[in-house]
């Protein structure tokens, strides 16, 4: 089954998490030379602390086939690209639902809310380098589900 990737917008992504970008309200700091778009992500980690890790993922290409989704029941997870290339974001309302795919615009990060089903990190260009803000804990925090048939994500038209 094919899924068409859509441009990532805060409105479309709201059921899944936050879009982290330099739009909307800001405070001017540093004598007017810097805009601070303040506190854009709902960080939510249970029985643990949030931390910053660095992910380096293999680039993928569109069309992209997948069947696996996963979620972290104990914490939110933010992906902050350390580059200006669009990357693919796959999310789902659950194993019973058809997944949705979004393509970032090259100046957007995302924060997946706690427990949201999502695909693995899928950069489309090298280097697939991201800073990740998520739960640093010692107890289990991963559930996986494989759809019985793969989905194929197509590029936006």
């Amino acid at each position: 089954m094919h899924i068409q990737a859509l441009p990532l917008t805060p409105e479309a992504f709201a059921p899944f998490g936050d879009v982290l970008e330099a739009t909307g309200d800001f405070r001017l700091i540093n004598e007017g030379l810097c805009r601070r778009h303040h506190d854009r992500a709902l960080i939510d980690v249970a029985d643990a602390r949030p931390g910053i890790s660095i992910f380096l993922a293999e680039p993928r290409a569109l069309p992209y086939d997948f069947s696996l989704i996963e979620r972290h029941p104990e914490g939110s997870q933010a992906f902050l690209p350390m580059h200006q290339n669009p990357f693919l974001v796959i999310v789902s309302k659950g194993p019973e639902a058809t997944p949705q795919a979004f393509l970032t615009n090259g100046a957007q990060g995302i924060n997946l809310h706690r427990g949201v089903w999502h695909g693995v990190l899928t950069p489309l260009h090298a280097p697939g380098l991201f800073a990740v803000v998520d739960r640093i804990g010692t107890t289990p925090n991963l559930e996986e589900f494989s759809y019985p048939r793969p989905f194929t994500v197509r590029a936006p038209e």
Copy 2:
């Protein structure tokens, strides 16, 4: 007075904070397709919570003149570039000390430890876009100091 910017390394930066980059130990995740460099930053916020903000700063150029340094006594502050351009990092052991300047390699973020004196955010290329992980609180968290004479940061030789 002139300061020579040096390449940013974890060893040289250790008195001031963490270098956030895809080097050293990692865990393979996502069926071997992603390296997770785990928990690289000391997040330390007092009487508050950490959050993610997006900063958009005007690009500067080298040589770069400055006299102002600042610090946040109540919290650490991580700067994660959302691009692959080097940026300038100015830090100081205090108002009595001569500041030091570092230049990132285009694949490094930094985390300033709580209370470390530093210059304002100084990208060298547009867009000066960064994700920032710092203290989200309502009580004061800024001290500023101006050196009596400006310093000029020169590019590495």
